[in-house]
Amino acid sequence: MINELMIIIFAPLLAGVLAWIFDVKGIREGVAIIGAAVPLAYLIQAYQTLASQPSIQYSIVLSGFKFEFILYHLSWVFAMIAGVVGFAAVLGMVSTAKDSYEWLFALMSLTGVYGVFLADDLISFFIFWEIMTFASFMMVLKYNRKASLKYFLLSVLGAYAMLIAIGIIYAKVGAFDFTSVQRVFYQDAMRSVMGSDTLFSRNELLLIFGLFLTAFGVKAGTFPLHVWAPDAYSETNQSYTAMFSGVLSKAGVYGMLVIYILLGTRLMYEFGNIGAAPKFGYVIAFLGGITIIVGGLLAALQEDIRKLFAYSSISQIGYILVGIGVGTALSIEAAIYHAISHALFKGLFFLIVATIIHRTGKTQFKDMGGLAEKMPVTFAMAFVAILSLAGIPPLVGFASKWLIFEAVIHQNMPILGGMLFFGSAIGFVYLIRFTYAVWFGQRPTELDDTKDAPLPLAIAMGILALLNVVFGIAPGIVAGELNKIFGKEIIQGTIWELNLGFGRYNGLFITIWLVVGILIAAVIYFLGAKVRRVPVTDTYQAGNPVTMDYNLTIRRNFFLPLKETLAFWLRMSFDRLYQDIGSWVEDLAETLRHYIYNGNVQAYAWYLAAILIILALWGV
C-alpha cells in the first residue's frame, strides 16, 4: 500500500496531470476537486493517528539521497492550512480557470507546498520548495511576463541562497535530515557555552542564518524582498491567488520556524538577547514590523483592487513575522494562529476579488460601486472578511492579532508594539476604501446587470467565511492544537476562551454581547431613529471639516493627501532599485559581449597569446 504521506503530497499533482491530459471541461474540474479533497481527507484522518502517536514518518531512497517525510503537530497545522485554503481555491478555480494549463500548475504548486510542510530533510524541503516556486511562477507567466520574471528571479535568488546554506550545513554535518542537523547545532550550542571549539564558527553561523533569512524572506514577502508579490499576486487567476497568498506565503513563514527548529538554540546562545527576544529573532521581527508599515501604506495608495489586497497580504504577513521573531512560546503560537487567520481571511478576500472580476471584468476602484445590492452573497462574505482582517471581534482576525499584541506587549517591546498598532490603523484605512468604493455608493450603469457569485465560488467563500467565524467565536479550538505543538498549556482556557494569565479573551461572551447590542440597536432604530445622510468626508476626516481644496472621491486617488505626505518616502522604491540593477547588468553584459566577441579573428588570436603568456607567467 502506498504511504499516506505520499498520497497527501502527490494526489494534487496526479490530479493536475490527469486534468491536463484529459482536457475535457467538466472532467478536469471534477478530477481537480478530488485531487484537492483527497489530501484534506487524509489529513483529517491523520489527526486521529496523531492523537495516539507523536508523528507519522516515511522515507524513500532516490538518487543516493534519503528523502524523509514527517507529519507531526506543527506540520499538521500548516498542512491543514494548505488543505482547507487549497481546496477552497480549487473550488474557486472551477469558476475562473480558463484551461487545463492552469489546473496543472495550480495543483502542482499545492503538491509543492504539501511537500515543503511535510519534508523532514533539507533536500526534499528544497526540491518541493522549488516545485512550488516553479508551478506558481508558471501561473503568473501565463498572465504577465514581467511580473513573472521578477517573481522568478527573486525566488531563484532565494532558492540558491537556501541551496548554499544547505550545502554549507551538509559539508560539515554530513547529513540532510532535520534530526541530525538539529542535534549537531544543539551540541554546537552546548560546546560554545562550555567554551570549547564549535563545528560552525560564528561567521558561518551568521552566513547560514542570513542565507536562510533571504530564502524564506522572499517567499513570505518580507521587506525589502517583497517587490515581486504585488505584481505576482495580482497578475494571475485571482482564485489561484487565494492559494498563492494564503498558502504559499506560509511556506516562507514555516521556513522561519525551521530556522528556529534547526538553528535556534545555537543562534540564541551565540548572539544573545535583546530584552526578552533573541537577537536573531529580533531581526526577523523588526523586518516584519517594517513590512507591516510599508505594505499597509502602499495598500492604501493602490487604485487596483487586486494590488490593494496584494499589499495588504504583505502587510499581514508582517504580523506573523513579528510574532515569530519575538521568540517566546506564546508569541510563536500567536504567530501560527495569525498564519491560520491570514490564510482564512486572505483566501476569502482573494476569492471575493475573483468573484468581482469574474462577474464585472473590472479591476479598478474607479469602475466599481454599489455592488452590495447586486451581489448580496459576495457582500456578506466580504463583510466577514473585512471584519476579520480589521481585527474586530468575534472573528478570527481579532483573536490572533490580540494574541500577538499580548505576546509583544508582555515582553515590553514598545517599538514592535507601535508598529503593530500602526498596522492595524492603516488596515482600517485601506479597508474603508474597499468597503465603500466597491459595495456602496453610486453604481456605474454598466454594472447594473451584474450577477452574484457562481455556485463553486460561493461554496468556496462560504467554507472560508464559516471558519473565520467559528475560529473567532471558539478560539480555544485552535489554541488547543497550537498547545500540542509545544506539548504544554501555553494558552489556557476553554474552547470559548483564551486565557494567558495576564489577559483573557472570551469569544462566545463577546459574540453574545455583540448580538445583544445589535438587537438593542435594532430596537432603538426601529423605534424611530432619524435618518441622516453621512457624507463620505465624514468617514475620511473623522467628522472634522474639510479644509483643503481636494476634490475627494473614494473611487479615485482617495488618499491623495497621504500620498503627498509620503512623497519623499515613496521615491525610495526597492522595486525600482532592483530594476535599475537589472538593466545595468544587461547593459554591462551587452558591452562586454560587444568587446569580447567582437568578431575579429585577429583579436581572438590575441586572446590565445594572452592566455599563453598567463600560462608562462603562472609557472604551472
Binding site: 532516490l62 538518487s63 543516493g64 528544497f126 526540491i127 522549488e130 516545485i131 516553479f134 507567466l141 501565463k142 511576463r145 513573472s148 520574471l149 522568478f152 528571479l153 531563484v156 535568488l157 540558491y160 541551496l163 548554499i164 550545502g167 554549507i168 551538509y170 559539508a171 547588468v585 544587461e586 554591462l588 553584459a589 551587452e590 562586454l592 559581449r593 569580447i596 566577441y597 568578431g599 579573428v601 583579436a603 581572438y604 588570436a605 586572446y607 590565445l608 594572452a610 592566455i611 599563453l612 598567463i614 600560462l615 608562462a616 603562472w618 609557472g619 604551472v620
Partner: protein, 497 residues
C-alpha cells in the same frame, strides 16, 4: 563475442566514410540513408560495448595488431569511454536522421563523409590510449568540423569556419609541441606509461608541457577566452552539426584535457593547472551567460548557453576530487541530452519557419506545439528546476564544490545561472504567450518521436536519477582513478624508455 570487435567503433565510420563516394556513384539518393544505416549500426555496437563494460566492470583494451602497449597503440574503452561512445553514436544517429530532412545543399556525399569523420574523430579522442593518437583524432575531428562549419556556403559560414580554423590551428600546433616535450622527457607516448612515469619528469618540462597541452585542448573545450570561435561557428554550421558540436565535440575536447591533467597528477604543476582551469571555467560560465542575455538569435543564444554549461563541467573537473569529477561527468551527460534536443528543435524551427531569430519563435506554441514543448522542457531543465535532469548534476556540482570549500565560486556560478533563467524565460514566454500570425505546421513524425524520446529521457533522469548517477560515478572513477587506469593497461613488462 570477441571483445576486440569493439575496434569496429573506429573502423566502421572510417571505412564507411571511404565508401560514400562508391555509394554516390550507385545512387545519389542512397547517400543519406546510408549515413543513417551506418550510424544506426554504430549505435548498436556502442550499446553492446557499453553493456559489456558496465556488466563486466572491466575496461576493454584493444591492441592494434596484437602488439602490447607501449609498443603497439592501444584503445582503452573504460567506463567513461563506453558511456561517451554511446552518447556520440546515439547523437550521431539522431542527427543523421535529422540531416535527411534538413540538409538540402549539395554535395551531400561530402557532408556524409565529413559527418562520419567527425564521429570517428570524437570516438577516437575518447577511446584512445596513446597521446599522439589523441592528437591525430583531434585533428580529424577539428578538420572535419571546420569543413562542416563552412558547409552551408554562405559568407557567414565561411567566416565562422575561418575563425575556427585559425584558432583551432593555433591550438593544435601548441598541443603538438606539448606532446613533443612529454615524449622528449619520458620517451613514451602511451598514456598509461606517461602516468606511471609522471613522477620522474623534470618539473620545468612538466610545467611547460602541461601548460601547452591544456592550452591546445582548451580551444576545443571552449574555455574562455579561447572559445571566441564558438558562437560564430555554432550559428553558421548546419543545424545537425551544431547539435553535434554541443553534444559531443566540445565534450571530447574537454575530456582529453581533463584526462591529460589527471594523468600528470604526480607532477608538481598539477594543482596549479587545476586552479587555472577553475578560474577559466568560472569566467567561461559568467561571460557565456551574460553574452546570451540579449541575444535575439535563438541559435546563437543556445550557443552561448552551451559554452556556459561547458564552464560548469570544467569547474567540476577542476575541483580535483572524485565527487567533483562525478558531477562533471553527470553534467556532461545531461547537457548532451538537453542540448542535442534543443539544437535539434531550433534547427527544425528554422527549417519550417525560415530562421532562428526570436521573431520566428513568436507563437511557436500554436504553430509547432511539439517542438515548442521540447524547447520548453530543455530550457526548464537547463535552468535547473527539480524533477528535470540538469538539476541533479547542478546540485551534485554544488555539493562537491562546497566540500572543498569553494563557496565563492559556487555563488558566482549560481549568480550566473540567474541570468540563464532570464533569457530562457523570455524565450518560453515568447513561444507560448505571444501571438503571431502563421499557419499551424504539420510536424514531422520521426523528428517528433526523437524529440519526445529525448524529453522522456530528461524527465526520467530527473525523476529517477539513481541509475544515471551511478553510471556517471563509475565513468568519473575511470577518469579520476589514475592508478587503476595504469593497472588496467597491460604494459609489456621490461619495455621502458
Amino acid at each position: 563475442m570477441n571483445l576486440q570487435f569493439a575496434s569496429l567503433l573506429i573502423a566502421l565510420p572510417l571505412i564507411s566514410a571511404f565508401f560514400v563516394p562508391v555509394i554516390k556513384t550507385i545512387s545519389r539518393k542512397a547517400v543519406m540513408p546510408f549515413l543513417v544505416i551506418i550510424t544506426a549500426v554504430q549505435t548498436g555496437i556502442a550499446a553492446w560495448v557499453f553493456e559489456e563494460v558496465y556488466t563486466g566492470g572491466k575496461p576493454i583494451i584493444i591492441m592494434a595488431g596484437g602488439f602490447k602497449p607501449p609498443v603497439g597503440i592501444n584503445l582503452y574503452i573504460g567506463h567513461f569511454a563506453a558511456l561517451f561512445v554511446l552518447i556520440i553514436a546515439v547523437a550521431g544517429f539522431f542527427m543523421a536522421v535529422f540531416s535527411m530532412k534538413s540538409i538540402g545543399v549539395e554535395p551531400k556525399d561530402k557532408y556524409a563523409m565529413l559527418f562520419l569523420l567527425l564521429m570517428l574523430g570524437a570516438t577516437g579522442m575518447i577511446s584512445t590510449g596513446d597521446i599522439f593518437n589523441l592528437f591525430v583524432f583531434m585533428e580529424i575531428t577539428a578538420i572535419s568540423a571546420y569543413a562542416l562549419t563552412a558547409y552551408n556556403k554562405t559568407g557567414e559560414a565561411s567566416e565562422g569556419a575561418m575563425k575556427y580554423i585559425v584558432l583551432g590551428g593555433i591550438g593544435s600546433s601548441f598541443f603538438l609541441v606539448g606532446i613533443a616535450l612529454i615524449y622528449g622527457s619520458l620517451g613514451t607516448l602511451n598514456m598509461a606509461q606517461i602516468a606511471q612515469l609522471a613522477g620522474n619528469i623534470n618539473p620545468t618540462v612538466a610545467q611547460a608541457a602541461l601548460a601547452l597541452l591544456v592550452f591546445g585542448l582548451a580551444v576545443e573545450a571552449e574555455l574562455f577566452p579561447l572559445n571566441a570561435w564558438a558562437p560564430d561557428a555554432y550559428q553558421a554550421a548546419p543545424h545537425p552539426v551544431t547539435a553535434m558540436f554541443s553534444a559531443f565535440v566540445v565534450k571530447a575536447g574537454l575530456y582529453a584535457m581533463v584526462r591529460i591533467i589527471y594523468l600528470l597528477r604526480d607532477t608538481q604543476a598539477f594543482t596549479g593547472i587545476l586552479r587555472l582551469v577553475l578560474i577559466l571555467g568560472t569566467i567561461t560560465v559568467v561571460i557565456g551567460e551574460l553574452s546570451a542575455l540579449r541575444q535575439t538569435n535563438v541559435k546563437r543564444m543556445f550557443a552561448y548557453s552551451s559554452i556556459a554549461q561547458v564552464g560548469f563541467m570544467a569547474v567540476g573537473f577542476s575541483l580535483g576530487t572524485q565527487a567533483g569529477a562525478s558531477a562533471g561527468v553527470f553534467h556532461m551527460v545531461n547537457h548532451a541530452i538537453v542540448k542535442a534536443l534543443m539544437f535539434l528543435a531550433v534547427g527544425y524551427v528554422a527549417l519550417e519557419l525560415g530562421g532562428t531569430s526570436i521573431e520566428d519563435f513568436k507563437g511557436l506554441g500554436k504553430k509547432m506545439p511539439l517542438t515548442a514543448f521540447a524547447i520548453t522542457v530543455g530550457a526548464i531543465s537547463i535552468i535547473g528546476i527539480p524533477m528535470f535532469n540538469v538539476f541533479w548534476s547542478k546540485i551534485q556540482l554544488i555539493l562537491a564544490a562546497l566540500k572543498v570549500g569553494k563557496t565563492g565560486v559556487i555563488a558566482l556560478i549560481l549568480g550566473a545561472s540567474l541570468v540563464e533563467a532570464v533569457y530562457y524565460i523570455r524565450l518560453i514566454h515568447t513561444m507560448w504567450f505571444e501571438s503571431a500570425n502563421g499557419e499551424k505546421v504539420k510536424e514531422n513524425f520521426t523528428l517528433g518521436v526523437i524529440m519526445l524520446l529525448l524529453v522522456a529521457l530528461i524527465i526520467v533522469i530527473g525523476v529517477f536519477p539513481n541509475a544515471a548517477w551511478n553510471i556517471a560515478q563509475k565513468a568519473a572513477a575511470d577518469l579520476y582513478n589514475v592508478s587503476q587506469y595504469i593497472k588496467n593497461v597491460p604494459l609489456l613488462p621490461g619495455v621502458s624508455p
